[in-house]
Protein backbone atom coordinates (compact mmCIF):
# COMPACT_ATOMS: atom_id res chain seq x y z
CA UNK A 1 0.00 0.00 0.00
CA UNK A 2 1.13 3.51 -0.68
CA UNK A 3 0.12 4.81 2.74
CA UNK A 4 3.05 6.61 4.43
CA UNK A 5 4.54 4.72 7.32
CA UNK A 6 3.11 5.64 10.69
CA UNK A 7 4.14 4.67 14.14
CA UNK A 8 2.32 1.61 15.44
CA UNK A 9 -0.62 2.67 17.56
CA UNK A 10 -0.91 5.97 15.78
CA UNK A 11 -2.41 4.31 12.76
CA UNK A 12 -5.92 3.91 14.06
CA UNK A 13 -5.98 7.44 15.36
CA UNK A 14 -4.48 8.69 12.10
CA UNK A 15 -7.11 6.99 10.01
CA UNK A 16 -9.88 8.10 12.26
CA UNK A 17 -8.85 11.75 12.33
CA UNK A 18 -8.03 12.29 8.73
CA UNK A 19 -10.82 13.97 6.79
CA UNK A 20 -12.14 11.53 4.21
CA UNK A 21 -10.58 13.34 1.24
CA UNK A 22 -7.12 12.85 2.69
CA UNK A 23 -7.49 9.07 2.90
CA UNK A 24 -6.14 7.41 -0.19
CA UNK A 25 -8.75 4.59 -0.26
CA UNK A 26 -11.96 5.12 -2.21
CA UNK A 27 -14.82 6.08 0.13
CA UNK A 28 -16.98 3.31 1.63
CA UNK A 29 -20.07 5.42 1.34
CA UNK A 30 -20.44 8.26 -1.14
CA UNK A 31 -23.62 10.31 -1.24
CA UNK A 32 -23.72 13.04 -3.83
CA UNK A 33 -26.44 15.71 -4.08
CA UNK A 34 -29.08 13.42 -2.67
CA UNK A 35 -32.64 14.75 -2.71
CA UNK A 36 -35.53 12.60 -1.59
CA UNK A 37 -39.16 13.53 -2.07
CA UNK A 38 -41.89 11.23 -0.75
CA UNK A 39 -44.95 11.07 -2.98
CA UNK A 40 -43.27 13.14 -5.65
CA UNK A 41 -45.74 14.65 -8.10
CA UNK A 42 -48.69 14.27 -5.72
CA UNK A 43 -50.37 17.01 -3.71
CA UNK A 44 -48.98 15.70 -0.41
CA UNK A 45 -45.37 15.51 -1.57
CA UNK A 46 -42.88 15.74 1.30
CA UNK A 47 -39.35 16.93 0.69
CA UNK A 48 -37.52 14.78 3.24
CA UNK A 49 -33.88 15.16 2.27
CA UNK A 50 -32.54 18.17 0.43
CA UNK A 51 -29.29 18.10 -1.47
CA UNK A 52 -27.18 16.08 0.92
CA UNK A 53 -23.61 15.14 0.09
CA UNK A 54 -21.59 12.98 2.39
CA UNK A 55 -18.62 10.69 2.12
CA UNK A 56 -17.24 8.15 4.58
CA UNK A 57 -13.75 6.72 4.46
CA UNK A 58 -13.35 2.99 5.15
CA UNK A 59 -13.43 2.33 8.88
CA UNK A 60 -14.80 5.74 9.69
CA UNK A 61 -17.42 6.20 12.38
CA UNK A 62 -19.80 9.04 11.51
CA UNK A 63 -22.86 10.12 13.46
CA UNK A 64 -25.90 11.78 12.01
CA UNK A 65 -27.77 14.09 14.36
CA UNK A 66 -30.73 16.32 13.65
CA UNK A 67 -34.28 17.09 14.70
CA UNK A 68 -36.92 14.41 14.45
CA UNK A 69 -38.24 14.01 10.93
CA UNK A 70 -35.18 15.50 9.24
CA UNK A 71 -34.59 12.43 7.11
CA UNK A 72 -31.96 10.44 9.01
CA UNK A 73 -33.78 7.14 8.73
CA UNK A 74 -34.60 7.97 5.13
CA UNK A 75 -30.90 8.30 4.31
CA UNK A 76 -30.17 4.92 5.92
CA UNK A 77 -33.05 3.31 4.05
CA UNK A 78 -31.74 4.73 0.79
CA UNK A 79 -28.32 3.26 1.55
CA UNK A 80 -29.80 -0.20 2.20
CA UNK A 81 -31.97 -0.02 -0.91
CA UNK A 82 -35.12 -0.55 1.16
CA UNK A 83 -36.58 2.66 -0.24
CA UNK A 84 -37.42 2.15 -3.85
CA UNK A 85 -38.91 5.61 -4.42
CA UNK A 86 -37.13 7.81 -6.88
CA UNK A 87 -34.37 9.73 -5.19
CA UNK A 88 -32.31 12.29 -7.06
CA UNK A 89 -28.56 12.25 -6.82
CA UNK A 90 -26.00 9.53 -6.58
CA UNK A 91 -25.56 7.04 -3.76
CA UNK A 92 -22.77 4.45 -3.63
CA UNK A 93 -21.88 1.86 -1.07
CA UNK A 94 -18.41 0.44 -1.72
CA UNK A 95 -18.72 1.87 -5.21
CA UNK A 96 -21.99 0.08 -5.96
CA UNK A 97 -25.49 1.55 -6.17
CA UNK A 98 -27.77 0.46 -3.32
CA UNK A 99 -29.76 -2.74 -3.64
CA UNK A 100 -31.94 -4.57 -1.14
CA UNK A 101 -30.19 -7.36 0.70
CA UNK A 102 -26.74 -5.94 -0.04
CA UNK A 103 -24.38 -8.28 1.85
CA UNK A 104 -21.93 -5.40 2.32
CA UNK A 105 -24.34 -3.78 4.76
CA UNK A 106 -25.41 -4.74 8.27
CA UNK A 107 -28.33 -2.86 9.76
CA UNK A 108 -29.36 -2.30 13.36
CA UNK A 109 -32.59 -0.69 14.56
CA UNK A 110 -33.65 1.25 17.62
CA UNK A 111 -35.84 -1.46 19.04
CA UNK A 112 -33.92 -4.66 19.58
CA UNK A 113 -36.10 -6.50 17.04
CA UNK A 114 -34.96 -9.86 18.29
CA UNK A 115 -37.27 -12.65 17.17
CA UNK A 116 -39.00 -13.74 20.40
CA UNK A 117 -39.31 -17.39 19.35
CA UNK A 118 -35.57 -17.75 18.86
CA UNK A 119 -32.97 -18.19 21.56
CA UNK A 120 -30.21 -15.61 21.95
CA UNK A 121 -27.93 -17.90 19.97
CA UNK A 122 -30.38 -18.32 17.10
CA UNK A 123 -31.06 -14.60 17.08
CA UNK A 124 -27.37 -13.84 16.93
CA UNK A 125 -27.12 -16.27 14.02
CA UNK A 126 -30.19 -14.94 12.19
CA UNK A 127 -28.36 -12.59 9.83
CA UNK A 128 -25.87 -15.28 8.85
CA UNK A 129 -28.74 -17.74 8.45
CA UNK A 130 -30.60 -15.62 5.89
CA UNK A 131 -27.29 -15.11 4.11
CA UNK A 132 -26.91 -18.84 3.76
CA UNK A 133 -23.93 -19.63 5.99
CA UNK A 134 -23.72 -23.29 7.01
CA UNK A 135 -25.20 -24.05 10.42
CA UNK A 136 -21.99 -25.07 12.17
CA UNK A 137 -20.13 -22.02 11.05
CA UNK A 138 -22.86 -19.58 12.05
CA UNK A 139 -23.41 -21.24 15.40
CA UNK A 140 -19.77 -21.09 16.37
CA UNK A 141 -19.53 -17.50 15.19
CA UNK A 142 -22.73 -16.53 17.01
CA UNK A 143 -21.41 -18.15 20.19
CA UNK A 144 -18.17 -16.26 19.81
CA UNK A 145 -19.99 -12.96 19.38
CA UNK A 146 -22.31 -13.62 22.32
CA UNK A 147 -19.18 -14.17 24.37
CA UNK A 148 -17.79 -10.84 23.16
CA UNK A 149 -20.92 -8.94 24.15
CA UNK A 150 -21.03 -10.64 27.55
CA UNK A 151 -23.96 -12.96 26.88
CA UNK A 152 -21.96 -16.18 26.79
CA UNK A 153 -24.09 -17.75 29.52
CA UNK A 154 -27.38 -16.72 27.93
CA UNK A 155 -27.08 -18.45 24.56
CA UNK A 156 -30.07 -20.70 25.21
CA UNK A 157 -32.33 -18.05 26.75
CA UNK A 158 -35.30 -16.59 24.92
CA UNK A 159 -35.52 -12.79 24.58
CA UNK A 160 -38.30 -12.56 27.18
CA UNK A 161 -35.73 -13.70 29.75
CA UNK A 162 -33.30 -10.92 28.80
CA UNK A 163 -33.28 -7.31 30.01
CA UNK A 164 -33.49 -4.40 27.58
CA UNK A 165 -29.75 -3.92 27.65
CA UNK A 166 -29.09 -7.62 27.17
CA UNK A 167 -31.43 -7.74 24.20
CA UNK A 168 -29.56 -4.88 22.60
CA UNK A 169 -26.29 -6.68 23.30
CA UNK A 170 -27.70 -9.67 21.49
CA UNK A 171 -28.67 -7.42 18.58
CA UNK A 172 -25.07 -6.12 18.55
CA UNK A 173 -23.88 -9.72 18.39
CA UNK A 174 -26.22 -10.41 15.48
CA UNK A 175 -24.94 -7.30 13.69
CA UNK A 176 -21.24 -7.89 14.25
CA UNK A 177 -21.52 -11.57 13.42
CA UNK A 178 -22.00 -10.47 9.82
CA UNK A 179 -18.84 -9.80 7.93
CA UNK A 180 -20.34 -6.75 6.20
CA UNK A 181 -17.85 -3.88 6.07
CA UNK A 182 -20.56 -1.22 6.35
CA UNK A 183 -22.75 -0.85 9.40
CA UNK A 184 -25.86 1.33 9.57
CA UNK A 185 -27.31 1.95 13.01
CA UNK A 186 -30.58 3.78 13.59
CA UNK A 187 -30.69 5.02 17.19
CA UNK A 188 -29.65 1.59 18.46
CA UNK A 189 -29.47 2.72 22.10
CA UNK A 190 -32.33 5.21 21.96
CA UNK A 191 -34.59 3.16 24.22
CA UNK A 192 -32.05 2.46 26.97
CA UNK A 193 -31.51 4.16 30.33
CA UNK A 194 -28.43 6.39 30.71
CA UNK A 195 -26.22 3.89 32.53
CA UNK A 196 -26.96 0.93 30.28
CA UNK A 197 -26.44 3.21 27.32
CA UNK A 198 -22.89 4.13 28.42
CA UNK A 199 -22.04 0.45 28.91
CA UNK A 200 -23.31 -0.44 25.49
CA UNK A 201 -21.53 2.51 23.88
CA UNK A 202 -18.31 1.21 25.38
CA UNK A 203 -19.11 -2.25 24.08
CA UNK A 204 -19.80 -0.83 20.63
CA UNK A 205 -16.42 0.93 20.69
CA UNK A 206 -14.68 -2.33 21.56
CA UNK A 207 -16.46 -4.23 18.83
CA UNK A 208 -15.81 -1.48 16.33
CA UNK A 209 -12.10 -1.39 17.16
CA UNK A 210 -11.93 -5.14 16.77
CA UNK A 211 -13.98 -5.36 13.56
CA UNK A 212 -13.21 -2.02 11.92
CA UNK A 213 -16.40 -1.34 10.05
CA UNK A 214 -17.53 1.85 8.41
CA UNK A 215 -20.39 3.06 10.56
CA UNK A 216 -23.24 5.51 10.02
CA UNK A 217 -24.75 6.04 13.44
CA UNK A 218 -28.04 7.91 13.73
CA UNK A 219 -28.80 9.34 17.16
CA UNK A 220 -30.67 12.08 19.00
CA UNK A 221 -28.06 12.13 21.72
CA UNK A 222 -25.22 14.59 21.11
CA UNK A 223 -23.12 13.17 23.94
CA UNK A 224 -23.36 9.75 22.38
CA UNK A 225 -22.48 11.10 18.94
CA UNK A 226 -19.39 12.87 20.27
CA UNK A 227 -18.23 9.95 22.40
CA UNK A 228 -18.35 7.47 19.55
CA UNK A 229 -17.65 9.31 16.32
CA UNK A 230 -14.84 10.52 14.14
CA UNK A 231 -17.23 13.09 12.70
CA UNK A 232 -20.65 14.34 13.60
CA UNK A 233 -22.95 15.49 10.82
CA UNK A 234 -25.55 18.00 11.98
CA UNK A 235 -28.72 18.16 9.93
CA UNK A 236 -31.39 20.85 9.81
CA UNK A 237 -35.09 20.37 10.40
CA UNK A 238 -37.05 19.03 7.42
CA UNK A 239 -36.18 19.23 4.63
CA UNK A 240 -32.95 17.72 5.95
CA UNK A 241 -29.82 19.54 4.89
CA UNK A 242 -26.33 19.22 6.29
CA UNK A 243 -25.62 22.31 8.38
CA UNK A 244 -22.27 21.22 9.80
CA UNK A 245 -19.69 18.49 9.56
CA UNK A 246 -17.74 18.54 12.82
CA UNK A 247 -14.59 16.46 13.25
CA UNK A 248 -14.28 14.96 16.74
CA UNK A 249 -10.57 15.09 17.54
CA UNK A 250 -10.69 13.23 20.82
CA UNK A 251 -7.98 10.60 21.06
CA UNK A 252 -8.79 6.92 20.65
CA UNK A 253 -9.25 4.46 22.15
CA UNK A 254 -11.87 6.31 24.13
CA UNK A 255 -13.40 5.49 27.46
CA UNK A 256 -16.98 6.64 27.13
CA UNK A 257 -17.43 7.02 30.89
CA UNK A 258 -14.25 9.04 31.41
CA UNK A 259 -15.19 11.32 28.53
CA UNK A 260 -18.27 12.48 30.42
CA UNK A 261 -15.99 14.61 32.63
CA UNK A 262 -13.54 15.75 29.92
CA UNK A 263 -13.66 19.50 29.18
CA UNK A 264 -12.95 19.00 25.45
CA UNK A 265 -15.98 16.77 25.33
CA UNK A 266 -18.08 19.52 26.87
CA UNK A 267 -16.73 22.16 24.51
CA UNK A 268 -17.68 19.99 21.55
CA UNK A 269 -21.07 19.38 23.10
CA UNK A 270 -21.73 23.11 23.46
CA UNK A 271 -20.63 23.75 19.87
CA UNK A 272 -22.79 20.99 18.42
CA UNK A 273 -25.72 22.05 20.54
CA UNK A 274 -25.59 25.59 19.04
CA UNK A 275 -25.36 24.19 15.53
CA UNK A 276 -28.29 21.89 16.16
CA UNK A 277 -30.39 24.73 17.58
CA UNK A 278 -29.62 26.95 14.58
CA UNK A 279 -30.51 24.12 12.20
CA UNK A 280 -33.71 23.33 14.06
CA UNK A 281 -34.97 26.91 13.98
CA UNK A 282 -33.86 27.64 10.43
CA UNK A 283 -37.04 26.36 8.82
CA UNK A 284 -39.99 26.62 11.17
Amino acid sequence: MSRPAVAPGAQIAGLAHAPPAAVDLPPSIAIHDLTMRFGAGTAGAVLAVDNVSLSLAPGEFVSLVGPSGCGKTTILNLLTGLLKDEAEGDVRVLGKPPHEGNPDIAYMLARDSLLPWRTALDNAAFGMEVRGLPKRERDSRARDLLQQVGLGDFADKFPKALSHGMRQRCALARTFALDSPVLLMDEPFGALDAQTKLTLEDLLMQLWSAHRKTVVFVTHDLAEAIALSDRVIVMSARPGRIVADVPIDLPRPRDVRKLQTDHRFHDLYARLWRLLEQGASAHD
Binding site: E100, N102, V130, R131
Partner: protein
Amino acid sequence: MIKPFRITLGHVVFIVALVALWEFLGARGVIDPTFAGRPSGIASYLWRGFITDRNLWNDLSYTIAAAAIAFVGGSLTAILAGLLFTMLPGLHRACEPYLSLLNAMPRIALVPLFLLWFGLGIGSKIAVAISLTFFIVLAATVAGIRGVNSDHLVLSRALGASPGQIFFKVTLPSAVPVIFSGLRLGLVYALLGVVGAELIAAEHGLGQVLAYLQSTFDMDGVMALLLLLALLGLSITVAMNWLEKKLLVWQ
Protein backbone atom coordinates in the same frame (compact mmCIF):
# COMPACT_ATOMS: atom_id res chain seq x y z
CA MET B 1 -49.12 -19.40 51.22
CA ILE B 2 -51.70 -22.15 50.98
CA LYS B 3 -50.22 -25.38 49.68
CA PRO B 4 -51.68 -26.78 46.43
CA PHE B 5 -52.52 -29.99 48.25
CA ARG B 6 -54.69 -28.10 50.76
CA ILE B 7 -56.45 -26.33 47.89
CA THR B 8 -57.24 -29.63 46.17
CA LEU B 9 -58.41 -31.09 49.46
CA GLY B 10 -60.66 -28.04 49.95
CA HIS B 11 -62.27 -28.57 46.53
CA VAL B 12 -62.84 -32.28 47.20
CA VAL B 13 -64.44 -31.58 50.56
CA PHE B 14 -66.65 -28.88 49.04
CA ILE B 15 -67.84 -31.08 46.17
CA VAL B 16 -68.45 -34.11 48.37
CA ALA B 17 -70.44 -31.95 50.80
CA LEU B 18 -72.45 -30.42 47.97
CA VAL B 19 -73.26 -33.81 46.43
CA ALA B 20 -74.21 -35.22 49.84
CA LEU B 21 -76.47 -32.25 50.52
CA TRP B 22 -78.09 -32.61 47.10
CA GLU B 23 -78.67 -36.33 47.68
CA PHE B 24 -80.05 -35.70 51.16
CA LEU B 25 -82.39 -32.89 50.08
CA GLY B 26 -83.47 -34.99 47.09
CA ALA B 27 -84.31 -37.93 49.31
CA ARG B 28 -86.34 -35.68 51.64
CA GLY B 29 -88.17 -34.22 48.66
CA VAL B 30 -86.92 -30.64 49.29
CA ILE B 31 -85.28 -30.69 45.83
CA ASP B 32 -87.62 -32.48 43.44
CA PRO B 33 -85.64 -35.24 41.64
CA THR B 34 -88.11 -35.07 38.76
CA PHE B 35 -86.66 -31.68 37.85
CA ALA B 36 -83.13 -31.82 39.22
CA GLY B 37 -82.19 -35.49 39.30
CA ARG B 38 -80.24 -37.02 42.17
CA PRO B 39 -76.51 -37.75 42.48
CA SER B 40 -77.14 -41.46 43.08
CA GLY B 41 -79.39 -41.59 40.01
CA ILE B 42 -76.82 -39.76 37.90
CA ALA B 43 -74.10 -42.12 39.05
CA SER B 44 -76.14 -45.22 38.33
CA TYR B 45 -77.05 -43.88 34.88
CA LEU B 46 -73.36 -43.38 34.09
CA TRP B 47 -72.55 -46.81 35.53
CA ARG B 48 -75.07 -48.45 33.27
CA GLY B 49 -74.06 -46.37 30.26
CA PHE B 50 -70.34 -47.02 30.52
CA ILE B 51 -69.96 -50.28 32.46
CA THR B 52 -72.98 -52.58 32.24
CA ASP B 53 -74.98 -51.61 29.13
CA ARG B 54 -72.04 -49.78 27.56
CA ASN B 55 -74.30 -47.87 25.16
CA LEU B 56 -72.75 -44.44 25.91
CA TRP B 57 -69.35 -45.40 24.53
CA ASN B 58 -70.74 -45.55 21.04
CA ASP B 59 -72.43 -42.13 21.27
CA LEU B 60 -69.41 -40.59 22.95
CA SER B 61 -67.15 -41.78 20.16
CA TYR B 62 -69.53 -40.46 17.50
CA THR B 63 -69.49 -37.02 19.09
CA ILE B 64 -65.73 -36.96 19.59
CA ALA B 65 -65.04 -38.27 16.10
CA ALA B 66 -67.34 -35.71 14.48
CA ALA B 67 -65.81 -32.84 16.48
CA ALA B 68 -62.29 -34.02 15.68
CA ILE B 69 -62.96 -34.39 11.95
CA ALA B 70 -64.66 -31.00 11.82
CA PHE B 71 -61.86 -29.38 13.80
CA VAL B 72 -59.05 -30.79 11.68
CA GLY B 73 -60.84 -30.18 8.37
CA GLY B 74 -62.12 -26.73 9.29
CA SER B 75 -58.82 -25.53 10.75
CA LEU B 76 -56.68 -26.79 7.90
CA THR B 77 -58.85 -25.19 5.23
CA ALA B 78 -59.07 -22.00 7.31
CA ILE B 79 -55.30 -21.76 7.71
CA LEU B 80 -54.77 -22.39 4.01
CA ALA B 81 -57.43 -19.82 3.11
CA GLY B 82 -55.84 -17.36 5.54
CA LEU B 83 -52.44 -17.82 3.93
CA LEU B 84 -53.95 -17.41 0.49
CA PHE B 85 -55.79 -14.25 1.55
CA THR B 86 -52.67 -12.65 2.97
CA MET B 87 -50.78 -13.46 -0.21
CA LEU B 88 -53.60 -12.16 -2.41
CA PRO B 89 -55.13 -9.17 -0.60
CA GLY B 90 -57.29 -8.47 -3.65
CA LEU B 91 -58.95 -11.87 -3.34
CA HIS B 92 -59.53 -11.24 0.34
CA ARG B 93 -61.19 -7.89 -0.35
CA ALA B 94 -63.41 -9.52 -2.96
CA CYS B 95 -64.47 -12.37 -0.63
CA GLU B 96 -64.78 -10.25 2.50
CA PRO B 97 -68.46 -9.20 2.23
CA TYR B 98 -69.64 -12.75 1.54
CA LEU B 99 -67.56 -14.18 4.35
CA SER B 100 -68.89 -11.53 6.73
CA LEU B 101 -72.45 -12.38 5.73
CA LEU B 102 -71.93 -16.11 6.31
CA ASN B 103 -70.12 -15.46 9.56
CA ALA B 104 -72.90 -13.20 10.82
CA MET B 105 -75.49 -15.93 10.38
CA PRO B 106 -76.44 -17.98 13.49
CA ARG B 107 -74.88 -21.21 12.27
CA ILE B 108 -77.24 -23.50 14.15
CA ALA B 109 -79.94 -22.30 11.74
CA LEU B 110 -78.10 -24.19 9.03
CA VAL B 111 -78.85 -27.54 10.68
CA PRO B 112 -82.19 -28.11 8.90
CA LEU B 113 -80.54 -27.41 5.57
CA PHE B 114 -77.58 -29.70 6.27
CA LEU B 115 -79.93 -32.44 7.47
CA LEU B 116 -81.63 -32.36 4.10
CA TRP B 117 -78.32 -32.35 2.27
CA PHE B 118 -76.28 -34.80 4.33
CA GLY B 119 -78.91 -36.82 6.21
CA LEU B 120 -78.96 -37.97 9.82
CA GLY B 121 -75.45 -39.41 9.75
CA ILE B 122 -72.20 -37.85 10.79
CA GLY B 123 -72.02 -35.52 7.75
CA SER B 124 -74.54 -32.94 8.94
CA LYS B 125 -72.96 -32.28 12.31
CA ILE B 126 -69.50 -32.11 10.79
CA ALA B 127 -70.78 -29.53 8.34
CA VAL B 128 -72.27 -27.40 11.12
CA ALA B 129 -69.11 -27.64 13.22
CA ILE B 130 -66.90 -26.76 10.27
CA SER B 131 -69.05 -23.72 9.54
CA LEU B 132 -68.18 -22.48 13.04
CA THR B 133 -64.53 -23.53 13.30
CA PHE B 134 -63.56 -22.34 9.83
CA PHE B 135 -64.41 -18.69 10.40
CA ILE B 136 -62.80 -18.54 13.81
CA VAL B 137 -59.51 -20.02 12.64
CA LEU B 138 -59.58 -17.98 9.43
CA ALA B 139 -59.93 -14.71 11.34
CA ALA B 140 -57.12 -15.73 13.70
CA THR B 141 -54.81 -16.70 10.84
CA VAL B 142 -55.34 -13.45 8.96
CA ALA B 143 -54.92 -11.40 12.15
CA GLY B 144 -51.81 -13.34 13.13
CA ILE B 145 -50.12 -12.87 9.79
CA ARG B 146 -51.08 -9.20 9.56
CA GLY B 147 -49.84 -8.63 13.08
CA VAL B 148 -46.23 -9.40 12.21
CA ASN B 149 -43.86 -6.84 13.71
CA SER B 150 -42.82 -4.44 10.96
CA ASP B 151 -39.38 -3.96 12.55
CA HIS B 152 -38.77 -7.66 12.04
CA LEU B 153 -39.70 -7.32 8.37
CA VAL B 154 -37.50 -4.26 7.83
CA LEU B 155 -34.58 -5.93 9.53
CA SER B 156 -34.95 -9.19 7.62
CA ARG B 157 -35.18 -7.38 4.32
CA ALA B 158 -32.19 -5.20 5.14
CA LEU B 159 -30.18 -8.30 6.02
CA GLY B 160 -31.10 -9.79 2.66
CA ALA B 161 -33.80 -12.34 3.50
CA SER B 162 -35.81 -13.57 0.49
CA PRO B 163 -39.64 -13.35 0.55
CA GLY B 164 -39.77 -17.10 1.26
CA GLN B 165 -37.31 -16.82 4.12
CA ILE B 166 -39.24 -13.89 5.55
CA PHE B 167 -42.47 -15.86 5.40
CA PHE B 168 -41.16 -19.04 6.99
CA LYS B 169 -38.66 -17.55 9.43
CA VAL B 170 -40.51 -14.40 10.51
CA THR B 171 -44.15 -14.07 9.48
CA LEU B 172 -45.36 -17.59 10.17
CA PRO B 173 -43.66 -18.11 13.55
CA SER B 174 -44.90 -14.72 14.72
CA ALA B 175 -48.46 -15.69 13.74
CA VAL B 176 -48.40 -19.02 15.59
CA PRO B 177 -49.61 -17.74 18.99
CA VAL B 178 -52.59 -15.95 17.45
CA ILE B 179 -53.43 -18.90 15.21
CA PHE B 180 -53.16 -21.15 18.23
CA SER B 181 -55.68 -19.17 20.27
CA GLY B 182 -57.95 -19.39 17.22
CA LEU B 183 -57.49 -23.16 17.19
CA ARG B 184 -58.31 -23.42 20.86
CA LEU B 185 -61.55 -21.52 20.36
CA GLY B 186 -62.23 -23.39 17.13
CA LEU B 187 -62.09 -26.74 18.92
CA VAL B 188 -64.54 -25.62 21.60
CA TYR B 189 -66.88 -24.40 18.88
CA ALA B 190 -66.49 -27.61 16.89
CA LEU B 191 -67.85 -29.48 19.89
CA LEU B 192 -70.63 -26.92 20.25
CA GLY B 193 -71.59 -27.32 16.58
CA VAL B 194 -71.61 -31.11 16.76
CA VAL B 195 -73.68 -31.31 19.95
CA GLY B 196 -76.04 -28.60 18.68
CA ALA B 197 -76.68 -30.49 15.46
CA GLU B 198 -77.15 -33.77 17.33
CA LEU B 199 -79.70 -32.14 19.63
CA ILE B 200 -81.82 -31.22 16.63
CA ALA B 201 -81.59 -34.58 14.89
CA ALA B 202 -79.04 -37.36 14.55
CA GLU B 203 -78.72 -41.13 14.63
CA HIS B 204 -75.92 -41.21 17.21
CA GLY B 205 -74.07 -38.90 19.52
CA LEU B 206 -74.27 -37.41 23.01
CA GLY B 207 -76.52 -34.57 21.82
CA GLN B 208 -79.00 -37.05 20.38
CA VAL B 209 -78.97 -39.06 23.64
CA LEU B 210 -79.53 -35.85 25.57
CA ALA B 211 -82.51 -34.89 23.42
CA TYR B 212 -84.00 -38.37 23.89
CA LEU B 213 -83.53 -38.31 27.69
CA GLN B 214 -85.11 -34.88 27.83
CA SER B 215 -88.13 -36.03 25.85
CA THR B 216 -88.61 -39.01 28.21
CA PHE B 217 -88.13 -36.80 31.26
CA ASP B 218 -85.17 -38.85 32.49
CA MET B 219 -83.65 -36.09 34.61
CA ASP B 220 -80.81 -38.23 36.03
CA GLY B 221 -79.76 -39.03 32.48
CA VAL B 222 -79.94 -35.37 31.39
CA MET B 223 -77.76 -34.31 34.30
CA ALA B 224 -75.34 -37.13 33.60
CA LEU B 225 -75.03 -36.02 29.97
CA LEU B 226 -74.46 -32.40 30.97
CA LEU B 227 -71.71 -33.55 33.32
CA LEU B 228 -70.19 -35.62 30.55
CA LEU B 229 -70.22 -32.71 28.09
CA ALA B 230 -68.70 -30.37 30.67
CA LEU B 231 -65.89 -32.87 31.30
CA LEU B 232 -65.36 -33.27 27.57
CA GLY B 233 -65.07 -29.49 27.10
CA LEU B 234 -62.76 -29.25 30.09
CA SER B 235 -60.42 -31.94 28.81
CA ILE B 236 -60.22 -30.12 25.46
CA THR B 237 -59.17 -26.92 27.23
CA VAL B 238 -56.65 -28.71 29.43
CA ALA B 239 -55.15 -30.53 26.44
CA MET B 240 -54.87 -27.31 24.42
CA ASN B 241 -53.24 -25.48 27.33
CA TRP B 242 -50.72 -28.28 27.69
CA LEU B 243 -49.99 -28.23 23.98
CA GLU B 244 -49.59 -24.45 23.97
CA LYS B 245 -47.07 -24.64 26.80
CA LYS B 246 -45.08 -27.25 24.88
CA LEU B 247 -45.29 -25.40 21.59
CA LEU B 248 -44.75 -21.82 22.72
CA VAL B 249 -42.04 -22.10 25.35
CA TRP B 250 -40.69 -18.75 24.25
CA GLN B 251 -43.77 -16.82 25.31
